[in-house]
């Protein structure tokens, strides 16, 4: 393998370097997609279904007659547009299409697109589109969708199951037979990433080429997908993800509007823009997390879990989304044994469609749901068996001597600090708990609770489970210019995580260059090599691997040129601070500029037999990753496994049911940190997001499929007064299999809060003997629990 390392002593790697992207963002000089301005640009408004399930017929004549309208299109007009491919073989085919053809399956489903001189006129004309709805019976729950006589969403399917993968393993049955079985049924509710920037896209067709600016996490995948569904060759498509205002998984999907706006730009010969408004976003961008995990643990007399069985039920909404929304269940399944030495696991999957917004990717991607179940089940085992839950975890958590360890679900764990992070979070949490109990002593309506949860986070996963098509690699190109400065172009992208800074830091330290002499190109398919984008805690691991690999090739050539010019042996040279010099003799040096000039300009200065140029492109594919599960459902779906433990102290008001988080502790381990402030920001942000998911945010529906959260008055994103200070400590256990030992970190923060807070609330209310089996934990839920504690939530 190529030598994936830095040039020498790290200068920026691991240091608290300020982000290179910040100045533009702080001064209003950024360019989000809504800021892209092209001459002659026109605006699109989308007509969306107001019913959850109906046959539709559409008349656009009145809308076409509105002054300022250029075009109004329905599905029937998209003659040369192909269906999205259905790549996944074990999933019912959805045959997705940008506009509803004869039937709508959720409120918000796109029916027609109106193009006008500006958005105000487009929205006027959208009002004039006449849609006749012939309403059909609606399913919104597992019960109604899976009933024998349930109305079907897709006529060409046998029922509403989009995925049905039962599994029965004899050895698991053997372990269960004769052992005590502890059961729990844990449901997480519908919520989503909801980035502050909604989606949006701008397309231009000029000189036979289509350019699409889109608020997306994976521009190359958008490009390839457009080439599948539009009659245009991939070489003639350029996709640009400009500044993106948060993604969180929502912007990994390829949405109908990206196809429509591209198609309209080609058809009209004018630049076309569509910017999603927030009311649209809450019904037209993917939802997530509506999972139920029916879990069983076979336990010994001391509570040690010998096997787990899980039936995962997943409400994927209408399923009309590309990439499909089914994979979070498999990721949840891959985490059902937690960070524990549980030898056996068996997962069965029932995923079903309902008349709700399609479900899909959200930060954590199934893992928060899994840990909500696993980390409560462990506590339940302890309660039922009568042992201490902390001691039970200590007995089962992975130990250093177990490594490398293959989990019951196939994860290959090569490093980590499972016991240490747990003990440290416990210590910090207990200190905080003691302080808080003293502070609130004597307050009769207040109960204080302590909760803890510990987990593994699979990072840099394969994309094959999600897409049935794309896998896992990423790419980087590095070029040293004649003046000795460097340009690094990456296939990973940023939606705010600091990926640009990561790329600059690794490039600078891998080439011994000052940081300010590195420029990063990111998010543009014309200037960046093919990559899968930014999601799944993958950019630093996979993009970083590609950067280090390209840099190794550059270093080799730099040393060869320098050795020739300085008339020394390559082994006697050091690259640092933009120079190559002889070891111990800083004045016998050649600058990177002189080397760049030799490579590109004065090629007569090159050693004999060395080609001109100083540029390298590299791809990196993580070595241990598997793309397909075995017959037991096992696979190592993640390139590297991080770990963490969260602890929280909550205050519950037993009169009002209000939960307040007093303290929140994270002890985190993702191996070496490229940039500690960025990593801490990721952890803080992830925790905050899933505090929102645990306590406040809910995309609720009525029985007839009407969404109840369509504004920020109903969808409650936490503000600065709801999120506590989050105390973070680190362990750094490098992976022996990854470049520089790196593991990913972007999603980790959001894996802990559901279980941690649920455990804390259960602890606070222990005199009432409650269980928390469903999210969100709202004041009404708490009040209800106190009144009738043992009721299991629907």
């Amino acid at each position: 393998m190529t030598d994936l390392r830095l040039a020498g002593r790290p200068v920026y790697f691991g240091a608290r370097v300020a982000r290179v992207e910040d100045d533009r963002l702080l001064t209003g000089q950024s360019t989000y997609v809504a800021d892209v301005r092209l001459p002659g640009m026109v605006d699109v408004a989308i007509v969306r279904s107001v019913f959850a399930h109906a046959k539709v017929s559409v008349n656009v004549d009145l809308a076409r007659a509105v002054d300022g309208v250029l075009d109004v299109v329905r599905a029937a007009d998209l003659q040369d547009v192909s269906e999205y491919p259905d790549f996944i073989t074990y999933m019912q085919p959805v045959k997705g299409f940008p506009l509803a053809r004869d039937k709508v399956r959720y409120v918000g489903s796109p029916i027609a697109a109106v193009v006008a001189e500006d958005r105000y006129v487009a929205e006027d004309a959208a009002e004039a589109v006449e849609v006749d709805y012939d309403e059909l019976p609606v399913v919104t729950t597992a019960g109604s969708a899976l009933a024998e006589d349930a109305p079907k969403l897709f006529d060409h399917w046998p029922d509403n199951r989009i995925v049905n993968l039962p599994l029965e393993l004899d050895d698991v049955e053997d372990v269960f037979r004769g052992r005590r079985v502890v059961r729990g049924r844990y449901s997480t509710h519908r919520h989503s990433g909801v980035p502050m920037e909604t989606r949006g896209c701008v397309a231009e067709y000029r000189d036979g080429r289509l350019t699409l600016w889109t608020s997306a996490q994976s521009p190359h995948i958008v490009r390839t997908t457009l080439s599948y569904v539009l009659p245009i060759a991939e070489r003639d498509i350029r996709v640009v993800a400009p500044d993106v205002g948060g993604g969180f998984g929502v912007k990994t999907h390829i949405y109908p509007e990206e196809v429509l706006v591209s198609w309209l730009a080609i058809r009209l010969g004018r630049p076309v823009r569509w910017i999603e408004d927030r009311a649209e976003h809450l019904v037209a961008s993917n939802h997530a997390r509506e999972h139920t995990l029916e879990m069983e643990a076979a336990v010994d007399d001391d509570g040690t879990i010998r096997a787990v069985r899980c039936h995962l039920l997943h409400d994927v909404g209408s399923g009309e989304i590309f990439m499909p929304g089914i994979c979070p269940s498999f990721v949840a399944g891959s985490h059902v044994a937690g960070a524990y030495r549980i030898p056996l696991a068996e997962n069965s999957y029932t995923q079903y469609v309902t008349n709700k917004t399609p479900s899909g990717a959200y930060r954590g991607f199934g893992a928060p749901e899994a840990y909500f179940a696993v980390e409560q089940l462990v506590e339940k085992v302890a309660r039922e068996v009568g042992v201490n839950a902390i001691d039970l975890r200590r007995r089962m958590l992975l130990r250093d001597e177990d490594l490398p360890y293959t989990t019951a679900t196939g994860g290959i764990i090569d490093s980590g600090s499972f016991q240490e992070s747990f003990e440290r979070a416990l210590e910090l949490g207990r200190e905080a708990e003691a302080r808080r109990r003293e502070e609130h002593e004597g307050e009769t309506n207040v109960r204080i609770g302590f909760g803890i949860a510990t987990y593994l986070e699979g990072t840099a996963p394969t994309y094959f489970g999600t897409t049935g098509h794309w896998t896992s690699h990423d790419s980087a190109t590095i070029r040293i210019e004649p003046d000795g400065s460097a340009v690094v172009s990456v296939g990973v992208t940023t939606t705010g995580q600091g990926t640009t800074t990561m790329a600059a830091v690794l490039t600078a330290d891998a080439l011994g260059l000052p940081l300010e002499r590195v420029r990063v190109e990111i998010g543009d398919t014309d200037s960046c090599p093919y990559g899968l984008g930014g999601w799944g805690s993958r950019s630093t691991v996979t993009g970083g691997g590609a950067i280090l690999k390209a840099a190794a090739t550059i270093r080799e050539k730099v040393l060869r040129i320098a050795a020739h010019r300085l008339e020394v042996d390559e082994a006697d040279l050091v690259i640092e601070e933009g120079n190559v010099h002889v070891v111990g003799s800083a004045d016998r040096a050649i600058t990177m500029g002189e080397i760049g000039t030799a490579a590109w300009v004065r090629t007569l200065d090159l050693p004999p037999g060395v080609d001109p140029g100083l540029e390298a492109v590299a791809t990196y594919d993580p070595p241990l990753l598997q793309h397909v599960a075995d017959e037991r459902g096992r696979m190592n779906g993640a390139a590297a496994w991080a770990n963490a433990t969260h602890a929280a102290i909550v205050k519950v008001d037993v009169d009002t049911g209000v939960v307040e988080i007093l303290d929140y502790v994270v002890v985190h381990d993702c191996g070496p940190m490229v940039n500690p402030p960025i990593l801490e920001g990721q952890v803080q942000g992830g925790v905050a997001q899933e505090i929102g998911g645990t306590l406040y945010e809910h995309m609720a529906y009525t029985e007839d499929g009407q969404p109840l959260a369509t504004t920020f008055m109903d969808y409650l994103i936490p503000s600065a007064t709801e999120i506590p200070e989050i105390v973070i400590e680190h362990f750094e256990s490098p992976s022996p299999n990854m470049p520089l030992g790196l593991k990913g970190a972007g999603e980790g923060g959001c894996l802990g809060p559901p279980a941690t807070l649920a455990n804390a609330v259960v602890d606070a209310l222990r005199e009432f003997d409650v269980e928390i089996t469903a999210l969100p934990i709202t004041p009404a839920v708490i009040r209800d629990k106190i009144r009738s504690p043992r009721r299991v939530d629907a």
Binding site: A18, R19, E21, D22, D23, R24, L25, L26, T27, G28, Q29, S30, T31, Y32, A34, D35, R37, Y120, G193, V194, P195, M196, E197, T198, D243, V244, G245, G246, F248, D277, R278, A279, T495, G496, Q497, G498, P677, I678, E680, G681, Q684, G685, G686, V687, A688, Q689, T711, F712, M713, I717, S719, A720, T721, I723, E725, I726
Partner: protein, 163 residues
């Protein structure tokens, strides 16, 4: 200020934006946020919800923080507006912007101008401690940072101790 007796579609307005006198004829239904972004091409002001909750579009109107997505452009007639472009020095960053950078108070940056304008428009003396600073910030939503580093940046910019 225009006085209108008959309904009209367009009105002329005159206002000051970032210290520069501007005038325009605008549709009476046009949102102030759209006027700032589309007509004045000051795209540092972002639109996150269009219903006055998220605070991304916050600007100063006569010195006070205002959500420009729930104000009409014609209502800004005769007023003095400041946007993020107006608090940015010719070179570099102002002290508040620098504090955000120093303390990693931003990630994707979309909500950031709104936060900067809210903070610029308040009197620090009215927010003496962390709790009151958090209350001051609670009208602006951020989805990336978890707010902690924003709170730290405010303290730093206001010369308060950072623990």
């Amino acid at each position: 200020m225009n006085t209108v007796s008959e309904p009209v579609e367009m009105l002329e307005i005159a206002l000051t934006v970032n210290g520069v006198a501007r005038s325009a004829t605008v549709p009476v239904r046009k949102l102030l946020s759209d006027f700032i972004r589309e007509d004045l091409q000051l795209t540092g002001t972002h639109v996150g919800c269009e219903h006055g909750v998220c605070g991304a579009c916050t600007i100063l109107v006569d010195g006070d923080p205002v959500r420009s997505c729930i104000m009409l452009a014609v209502q800004a007639d005769g007023r003095e507006l400041t946007t993020v472009e107006g608090i940015t020095p010719e070179e570099g960053l102002n002290p508040l912007q620098q504090a955000f950078k120093d303390h990693h108070g931003l990630q994707c940056g979309f909500c950031t101008p709104g936060f900067l304008m809210t903070i610029t428009g308040v009197d620090p003396d009215e927010y003496p401690d962390e709790q009151s600073i958090r209350e001051m910030l609670s009208g602006n939503l951020c989805r990336c940072t978890g707010y902690q580093n924003i709170v730290t940046a405010v303290k730093a910019a206001w010369g308060r101790p950072i623990e």
